[in-house]
Symmetry: C2
Subunit: 491 residues, 2 copies
């Protein structure tokens, strides 16, 4: 932990009004700007007098880079990653060049996928090999998907036999499984020794792996028997045998387990670290809270972006054309649904010609339906995520949502009906407006409930895409109900 | 940890095809249904023969409740909480009555706010006092906001002096600060002792607090000097003095620190537990990863709900009327914005009467603007949350987004313009459609970028409410641009 401390302290000074990670970024930007200024002077100097080397300026330039480098050396890899993400490509590569080679690997692990691509594109094979040298097998596996296949092959061959096996195991794990999150830093012990022996054994380590809060108890064939929490070892009499002390009935995972399930278990039962065993019960790795936390946060971010149809994180500084391509499929999908809704309106053009007020009022009916349906969807998506939406509760929720839609439909439909009447002095128009609102809110409640449930039934993530379908239905049906009623009763 | 283990094991059996927490809920539901059946038989029996006590049925009834109770006793408090949340009020209170009194407190801590209210409403003062008896000061403070003021007063008075002080401190902490998340379970040590003394001291504890991964080193006045990681204590020679071993430069917080800042520090630097000291540097508590994780998850859930205008979590089984009230303000707000957009259309009713096709096409222009703007907002909100959106990057992003909007506007505007021409055989209409799309996408890019930045500048959370404003602008402007252009060039 020692090497993290200066940064952490600076990070935390924020609340007391000092340096934050944002301010680190700003300071680096200032130093970069200064350097660019110097560079332009050097450049002009060189143009003016091609023979005289711009000694002074070059010196200033070097000093400046030195200052930048010293600054970077004090920062935690996570903070350097933050700065790299916050800089445009050109500046980013200047900074990347100043980072000490032995820190490259750790920093690559911390940056976002989009930024990692730009950094790796700037490195040759030798630099990449050096960067991953200090990394563990599980960390190398995290980077591997962004590396050229032949570099991965060379990296594998550069490892010793044990690490090769670990790396192959990590590489073959599917994303979203425990295998993809686990590491291999195990401290194991046999059950037939005393606490004293265990304590003596631990003192032979130079240091224990991060997040070690328990020792894994195994038999002679490395089968997982249980875990011994360090805090129990510490309060126990030194003569007691481990066998009387350790937990036999422990939370353990297999590499094939769903990472979401593991995350749920870590959150529910406040775990720090849990063993991973293969199907035969042999201990092969462990999963720690920090890996779980990173997984949860990354998944949340991906979901937030996917909700508005962004397939992957965009580098803030990448080109407009790349970004346009990233956003195109979503716009195309929405264009299709909007087009269908537009054709519903098109079917009633005759009525609209006779009463143009219909065109002004119809977006309200459609829009409020969408808002109301999205509320229902947000609640049901949450229940589905928690696994609390059984068939019985779904029926109950349906009745409740229909009740709410009726209450809202009467109230807001009434308000809108009166408003429409006052605007156009047309009682029938007011009545049609009120009735259309009520009916479309009922449609919205049904769609808001049934779309996510159906998606979930078919194994799709209801948090994604529900909203497009919902808006499609509340728009189309809103137009249809309102214009249909108007055609029957008004025109 | 021992008492958690049976549940955890069952929870984890999921991946191997066995009992999950969802299945616990289903089993409880089955047992409840069985019990209701028995009750109805007892009831009919009693009606038929008022004198003969329905002995057998009562016996079955009791057996059944016993089975339920045994089931509940094996479950982790978090799992009982899950089951309580998944049951309608009547069943929920049956289960709540079966839970052992000494577990009430822990379970109350785990359930959602909406469900906690229903459980507390079912308890009298004595039961509440008993429930909180086993809780720590920080846990009692978490419950206090849902308790009647006079009960809180009595609870405070029932504590010993030290706990009273802790409770008062926790109660006076503002929500969203470190003070509201911290607990008081400290294990401290002086720096002038050897590892051997420290180890002997620890063995005098019956058990160490959960998530203890380090000892807090303090001086004689309880000033925080640093921390000694347990894993370092364990690998060190017993004769070494603590003073040569501990980290002096540690991440520590004050109770007034922003909880989000603490969460960021825990995530960035993979912390498990950090000391909390007051402004004078005296150690007063600690903050642990599980409290941070709960805070982050609850905040995320609240944000997800607030995005669709739900101010608080709804109990799945609460009444339709309560829920309608919870959702009303959002609908009212959206009604107002939809009304303004509707008046924009109203201003062009004359044009629409002459060319009803305008009414059919205008929702497409407005809708795609909204979709496109929401993509921009999602990206900028993320940058703002990370603190990476400085003035310089904002300018850069603006240029980029305008570029993307132009690319998309030309492509999708072209597609739509041609479609409109094909549908209505009107070249000018196609041209107006294409131009309106392009212009509204540019409006959407500007609004999608500027609205969240402005909200952030004024200290509002840009993740909430940005979308309403945005849709308001893309709708109104979409209608205005399209109908305005049409009025100039077509009618």
């Amino acid at each position: 932990m020692t090497d993290l401390q200066p940064t952490i302290k600076q990070f935390l000074k924020d609340s007391r009004g000092h340096l934050t990670v944002q301010e680190h970024l700003e300071e680096v930007e200032r130093l970069l700007a200064k350097q660019r200024l110097v560079e332009s002077v050097v450049h002009r100097q060189a143009e003016r007098d091609a023979r005289r080397p711009a000694l002074v300026e070059t010196l200033v330039h070097r000093q400046n880079l030195g200052e930048l480098q010293r600054k970077l050396d004090t920062l935690h890899p996570a903070d350097v990653a933050y700065i790299l993400e916050g800089l445009p490509l050109e500046d980013r590569l200047v900074i990347w060049g100043l980072v000490k080679a032995d820190r490259d690997g750790e920093i690559l692990l911390e940056v976002s996928d989009a930024v990692r691509e730009t950094l790796l594109a700037d490195m040759d094979k030798r630099e990449i090999m050096e960067a991953v040298e200090n990394l563990d097998a599980d960390e190398i596996a995290d980077l591997a998907q962004d590396l050229p296949q032949e570099v991965v092959q060379d990296i594998i061959e550069a490892q010793d036999v044990e690490e090769q096996a670990q790396l192959r195991s990590a590489l073959s794990s599917e994303e979203g499984t425990v295998g993809a999150l686990m590491d291999f830093e195990l401290v194991t012990i046999r059950e037939d020794v005393t606490c004293e022996v265990a304590l003596r054994y631990l003192r032979r380590f130079e240091e224990l792996p991060n997040h070690t809060d328990a020792l894994f108890v195994v038999d002679r064939d490395n089968h997982l028997k249980g875990t011994l929490p360090l805090k129990r070892l510490l309060v126990s009499d030194v003569d007691i045998e481990i066998s009387t002390l350790y937990d036999r009935d422990v939370a353990s995972f297999t590499p094939e387990d769903d990472a979401d399930l593991a995350a749920q278990a870590f959150e529910r039962y406040d775990l720090i670290c849990a063993p991973v065993a293969n199907r035969a019960g042999k201990l092969i790795g462990r999963i720690t809270i920090d890996a779980v936390l990173d997984y949860v946060r990354e998944k949340q971010e991906a979901t937030d972006l996917a909700k508005v149809g962004l397939r992957e994180e965009e580098d803030m500084f990448s080109g407009a054309w790349d970004s346009a391509k990233n956003r195109a499929p979503w716009l195309a999908l929405n264009l299709c649904t909007a087009f269908v809704a537009s054709r519903v309106v098109g079917a009633f053009e005759g009525s609209i010609e006779k009463l143009a007020a219909l065109a002004a009022l119809m977006p309200i009916v459609a829009g409020i339906g969408g808002n109301s349906g999205n509320q229902v969807t947000a609640l049901i998506v949450r229940s589905l995520a928690l696994g609390q939406a059984s068939a019985a509760t779904a029926r109950r929720m349906l009745m409740k949502e229909l009740g709410i839609a009726t209450i809202n439909g009467v109230i807001w439909g009434g308000v809108l009906g009166i408003t429409a009447f006052l605007l156009y002095q047309n009682v029938a128009l007011g009545g049609v407006m009120a009735l259309a609102m009520l009916l479309n809110l009922i449609v919205a409640a049904l769609a808001g409930l049934l779309i996510p449930i159906t998606m979930d039934r078919f194994g799709r993530d209801p948090a994604l895409g529900s909203s497009v379908f919902l808006t499609f239905i509340t728009d189309s049906m809103g137009f249809f109900i309102f214009l249909g009623l108007a055609t029957v009763f008004l025109v």
